[in-house]
């Protein structure tokens, strides 16, 4: 197998998935659009988190900071200076990327005890949440509301399906980026860092620099998702945007799908978010929390019985079928 091979069949697969997704608002029933938007948003956030949390193997629990950075930056710019969120989202992305690189530098420069990175980012995430709930500039716990202007120039649309295409474009960008990077030199180094930090140090990879890069890129993409979410909901508020729940769900979906793979962060939310929404809308009144309970059980079951996630499980099943059929792939 040559190095170009994976790209040759991953790219068409990705393009097919994306084309199929463009058709959904046309073919699917109208009531699905909201669920579809949330699903794609989660898929987008999962793919973004996966860059640092999965591929580079740095378990970051602080991504709420980056969602919030994107949402608050673009919203504040639009409310105070009238800057369109189309520009504001990149400002938010830049803020988040700087934060991400800074956090990575601060917390990864020493050899800390295992899992310290998770704890530092968790604490920073909580600090961010508390800060957003206190600072009056950020609207404190009430949050900020966006005026409903309804112009696409201000990143606001009358039709939900337009939001759908916007988040789909985001998703396409991060998915293609992931595919492009996965087998590139950067991707190989990042996976090397994840699998064996000492060996990577031995062959002269500047580990810290790659971790910082992964964190910066991941934070940037995540922040764009924050801006989208704010524009879609037309408000920003600490609990939704800076709380831990969102991050933990992102991590959960990614791990269930297959953390560190290309397709896992896509498959996880595509299965779980609609499932959760269905459970919540049908049984949510009688049994609140049922969908989260199901998420938890799935996560536990996947980690226990299929530690590579659903994607890894599928790969195993596939290779077993190949063996059974006697045509082992070379």
């Amino acid at each position: 197998m040559t190095a170009a091979d994976p790209l040759r069949h991953r790219l068409p697969a990705a393009v097919l998935v994306l084309i199929a997704a463009t058709l959904l608002p046309i073919l699917g029933p109208g009531s699905w659009v909201n669920t579809a938007i949330i699903t794609l948003l989660f898929a987008y956030l999962c793919l973004s988190w996966n860059i640092v949390g999965g591929i580079a193997g740095q378990f970051c629990i602080g991504h709420s900071l980056f969602v919030a950075a994107g949402a608050y930056t673009s919203t504040l710019l639009s409310l105070t200076f009238g800057v369109t969120p189309w520009i504001g989202m990149f400002a938010g992305g830049a803020v988040a990327a700087l934060m991400g690189v800074g956090i990575a530098w601060l917390s990864l420069r020493y050899e800390l005890p295992p899992l310290s990175f998770a704890l530092v980012t968790l604490a920073l995430g909580m600090l961010g949440y508390l800060l957003a709930s206190t600072l009056d500039v950020l609207g404190a716990s009430r949050g900020l509301s966006l005026p409903i202007r309804g112009t696409p120039a201000m990143y606001q649309f009358r039709s939900d399906s337009t939001y759908y295409y916007v988040i789909l474009a985001h998703l396409a960008a991060v998915l293609l980026f992931t595919i492009a990077v996965y087998d590139s030199r950067l991707g190989l180094y990042l996976r090397g860092v994840r699998d064996n930090e000492r060996a990577s140090l031995g062959v002269g990879i500047h580990v810290l620099r790659y971790k910082m890069a992964a964190m910066g890129i991941s934070a940037f993409f995540t922040a764009l998702g924050g801006t989208f979410y704010a524009q879609y909901l037309q408000f920003v508020e600490p609990h939704t945007f800076a709380g831990l729940t969102l991050v933990i769900e992102v991590i959960l979906f990614t791990v269930v799908g297959g953390s560190g793979t290309i397709w896992g962060p896509l498959v996880g939310p595509l299965l779980l978010v609609p499932l959760g929404e269905a459970l919540r809308s049908n049984l949510g009144d009688q049994t609140p929390g049922l969908h989260l309970f199901v998420y938890g059980v799935l996560l536990v079951a996947v980690i226990r019985f299929a530690p590579q996630g659903l994607v890894g499980l599928a790969g195993q099943v596939k290779s077993r079928i190949h063996i059974v059929l006697g045509r082992v792939t070379p």
Partner: protein, 288 residues
Amino acid sequence: MPIDIIAQATVQGLLMGAIYALVALSMTLIFSTCGLLNFAHGDFMVLSMFGAMLLFELTGADPYLSAPLLFPALAAIGALTFTRLVRPVLAGGHLAGAQLTLGLVFVQQNMLLMLFGGDQRSVPTFLSNRHLEFLGVILPMPLVVGAVCAVALSILLYAMLMGTDFGRQIRAIAQNGNAAALMGIPIRRVQTLAFALGIGLLGITGALTVAQFSVTPSSGLDFTLVALIVMVFGGIGHFIGSLVGGLAIGVAEGVGSLMLGGTAGAMIPYLILVLVLLFRPHGLLGER
């Protein structure tokens, strides 16, 4: 600010800190012997609180009476969790273990939510509404009793760790797992017992403090975070450090919220966690 209010906040913080310390000690016990970062730690305590509540509603039993029952119950749950879920997963690394416990958080929280609803609850004990007045400081009795019991249990745990074969084996595994194995220490059995003991202690702690904290199914994460902060503050795997750390964090939180107001005060522990991790990664009392 009048001195008696600060004194009140300090003493109340110390009492809370004693409880925090015990929760952190059980987390340290589990982390250092089994290598598991348990995000569901506080949820096991909440589980015990709801257990005490259920026993009260069914039989009218005072939570203080339920505590000795909840110890073996939670210990058994802990042992099962460890042998069936945690140990097989930990073979794949620390990270897989931590992720597993995130799943357990979802499972436990929402199971309680489905069974009991999301309202804040508390259970009366025979000490509710009683207060202890001491040098002008007024303290709720349930808090005093909870703290005193927590200190007593911490001392017992410490004595066990320092003075028994089992305690020495736990410390040996924490300090050098391979060397401990070479001594012929039955690693798996000691780990299972340590895990069960840690969760069992949460069973007692939950029952003893259910009168003090009003609790919801989602309270667990708060206790987990405090325990994490205390554990890191005192140096991971450092038992005395966790004790001192608990008291320090309790006072910092109590006095901090008094001086700076609720939210800003709540930020102090996290700030401490970040600073300690970044600049004293082995804890304030840890060596190296």
